[in-house]
């Protein structure tokens, strides 16, 4: 039997370029015999059954915005895309819940929630393009994960297809469940190596009335990170705590909407949210906590200014990329008391490998995008940037952290997991993979 015998013609397309790569870079492009675009969970199951019967690798992709190569079909076979599996199956705004298929974009979930006075808090970078299934497969984070948690925290149930091609559900539109092992959490963040998510039940919350960023600008990282510590000690819970270091500001600061004082070489962005009075109270506390030693404190209050700030913050990655044309931006996470080490050692690692270095990211979660720049035409510099990334992963482990806080292991970080988990933990990781996917056909070569 061929694939065409088990799937409708419109669900099988030629393996075009955009299905063979993601945003990892490094010149890695996969190969595939076909791309399957199912429009139902049953078609996903049919594709997996065919792959399992014929020993063909099956690599899932969402919006293709991953940064770790998780969606690249490195061992050929079939690529499965979810853009046609994109229905809202159920929406109960009064009960704060929605059931969506895997191919719905995260931006659409945001919009639908907002139009009904609700909020789906996870806000990874490429929300308009990335799909909820991909966000679940990577357990995507974002700036507001500090207060609201990562994607998995908002998933109460999953429908998924597991080898050799069975549709299963874990959880559902329920808020508590301790019956079976937490296989829902196991699928979240599994990067398409255990099963393929076809639909998810998501929790929502009432939208905050007001979001009030408070931004502190400092002369150096030491002053800025001390300010973050004061924020934590102040007794309020900010919605976000971000930092951008001096090099980041030097590349992106011109577009900063509220004007960067010349002596500013470190930025801390916090945000207060909630009902109007509460957001204002928290913003005042944040302002107090950020003020010591600050070059300036900015506290925009107009909704248009607030959007402008976050648009600028979201665009920082592009400003950085534009600087030399190439950038490897990682996502290590460390205990909060090691933030200073990350800020300092990122620069030292860059210097050792002779590449421009910078760091920015989700400071409140200890999850920092240490970044190394290169010119794409300079293959030696690109290699040095890649080497710097590998030294960074070692740094994360030395500081008691993780090599990946939100991007995933994918293909980029292959080999790192064993160092992080140790032999016993890694063996257990492989045994769990074996329990789900005994033929190792789901996204082979990844998450290991």
């Amino acid at each position: 039997m061929t694939l065409a015998d088990v799937l409708p013609a419109e669900a099988i397309v030629e393996p075009k370029g955009r299905y063979l790569a993601d945003l990892m870079g490094r010149g890695v492009q996969g190969t595939a015999d076909a791309v399957v675009l199912p429009s139902s969970a049953e078609e996903v199951a049919a594709a997996m059954r065919w792959c399992y019967e014929n020993d063909v690798p099956l690599t899932a992709r969402g919006g293709g915005t991953g940064l770790a190569g998780g969606a690249i079909p490195v061992q050929g076979g079939i690529v499965i895309g979810f853009e046609r599996l994109n229905r809202i199956r159920q929406f109960d705004p009064l009960l704060w819940r929605i059931q969506v298929e895997a191919g719905v974009t995260t931006g659409d979930v945001h919009r639908l929630a907002r139009e009904n006075g609700l909020r789906f808090p996870p806000d990874p970078g490429a929300a308009e393009v990335s799909q909820i299934g991909g966000n679940i497969a990577c357990n995507a984070g974002g700036p507001h994960a500090f207060k609201y948690g990562v994607t998995g925290h908002w998933v109460t149930g999953l429908e998924a297809v597991i080898p050799p091609g069975e549709i299963v559900t874990f959880g559902g539109p329920i808020r508590k469940d301790v019956a079976g092992y937490d296989l829902r959490s196991l699928l979240v963040g599994s990067e398409g190596t255990l099963g393929l998510v076809t639909a998810a039940w998501l929790r929502l919350v009432p939208a905050p009335e007001l979001e009030l960023p408070v931004i502190g600008l400092y002369r150096d990282a030491e002053a800025g990170i001390s300010a973050i510590e004061r924020v934590l000690a102040s007794g309020v819970v900010p919605a976000a705590i971000e930092y951008l270091d001096g090099a980041t500001l030097s590349y992106s600061g011109d577009a900063y909407p509220f004007g960067l004082p010349p002596e500013a070489a470190f930025m801390v962005i916090t945000e207060a949210d909630g009902a109007a009075a509460e957001a204002r109270r928290v913003a005042a506390e944040l302002r107090d906590a950020l003020a010591d030693d600050a070059v300036a404190v900015h506290a925009p209050t107009e909704p248009s200014e607030v959007s402008e700030l976050w648009r600028w913050r979201g665009g920082a990655a592009f400003a950085i990329l534009a600087q030399r044309g190439g950038a490897f931006s990682e996502d290590i996470a460390v205990p909060l008391d090691r933030l200073r080490d990350v800020a300092r050692e990122t620069l030292e690692i860059g210097a050792r490998h002779d590449v421009p270095a910078l760091s920015f990211g989700h400071a409140g979660d200890g999850n920092i995008h240490s970044t190394f720049l290169f010119a794409p035409e300079d293959l030696d510099e690109e290699q040095r940037a890649d080497d710097a990334c590998h030294e960074l992963f070692q740094l994360a482990l030395r500081l008691g952290g993780t090599v990946t806080g939100e991007h995933g292991i994918g293909w980029l970080k292959r080999g790192q997991l064993e160092h992080q988990l140790g032999p016993t933990g890694y063996d257990l990781h492989l045994r769990v993979k074996q329990a789900f996917d005994p033929k190792n056909l789901l996204n082979p070569g990844k998450k290991r």
Copy 2:
């Protein structure tokens, strides 16, 4: 080699009665050859290695307050208790985190957090006796899980011993980690069947300044559950949404601190929390939402009254038990739109089996303690109450819910899991068990 060759003498005690049962009732008591009370993770590993080498079952127990028989050694062997593994390993109040060993009571974690302006939100019933390791093994909930989530949500890292006796860590004092599969979440709620938690890194949050309960009293369940729906639609996030039905009030209402009007036959307890002004604002919204059709609305504001309310609410289970001497209190969870069905059908199930029935619990999470009473000397009535529980489990599944929202499967609900997960999901559940515990020596007979 005997157990005495691998453990110090003081770590091995005689298997006394209190180590052989928990609060499940049903006259089930286990048997054991010895009770091991380790004082380090290394001693836990030594005990497990000995059990694995000698094919001896190993059943873990925390405070022994479980209601599903999860800690009963039904197949003999060794019982392992954690009361001597009870150190605070690290406490960083300014970074909102603590590392505790498994035998520390949840009440001690609460106290330590509170004394430092922080809060550990999970508040299961028997916090003063139950241990954090047991709470993690059951993923315990409680009234405030509505806003704050269950125990697992506050666990960022685990140290555990897995077969055949290796110490592993998953996560740590970090707030984000997507490197390996989420084995941390897999251990949470695994009821001692996959590995034994020896220590945990917990997240904390700044304590709310004020907690303001708002209580609505209604003539019947229909009016009360409509009030809960209005609360959800009001746009505020209460810290808790509980209900107690008419039968529950008839047994416990005399001790209700604010006086129960005679026509009150259903109670909804909500709570506002946060900074003073915010808590007052939310409390006012809750009062508005609860007022329609209410017989009375009570809104205590004195801290002593607030403690008194929750003490009374916590004592409701004992008032119910005292009524006839015996009570089976379950913990199904259903989608929020099925609360009415649970309230009504619990009574119908009781009537069909000719036992007094009632329901109360964590309504906002759809997690209800449907309860059937019996006189302990009336073995036939006890059997009918047990039969009623089994019909209740069927109800949970029919309503799209789970047989257990916070107590666990344990021994009591054996056989239910396959119905809930279906053959494919159940098979996967067993394969995960096999991956961790190939000899099936960890708490055999449970969680299946």
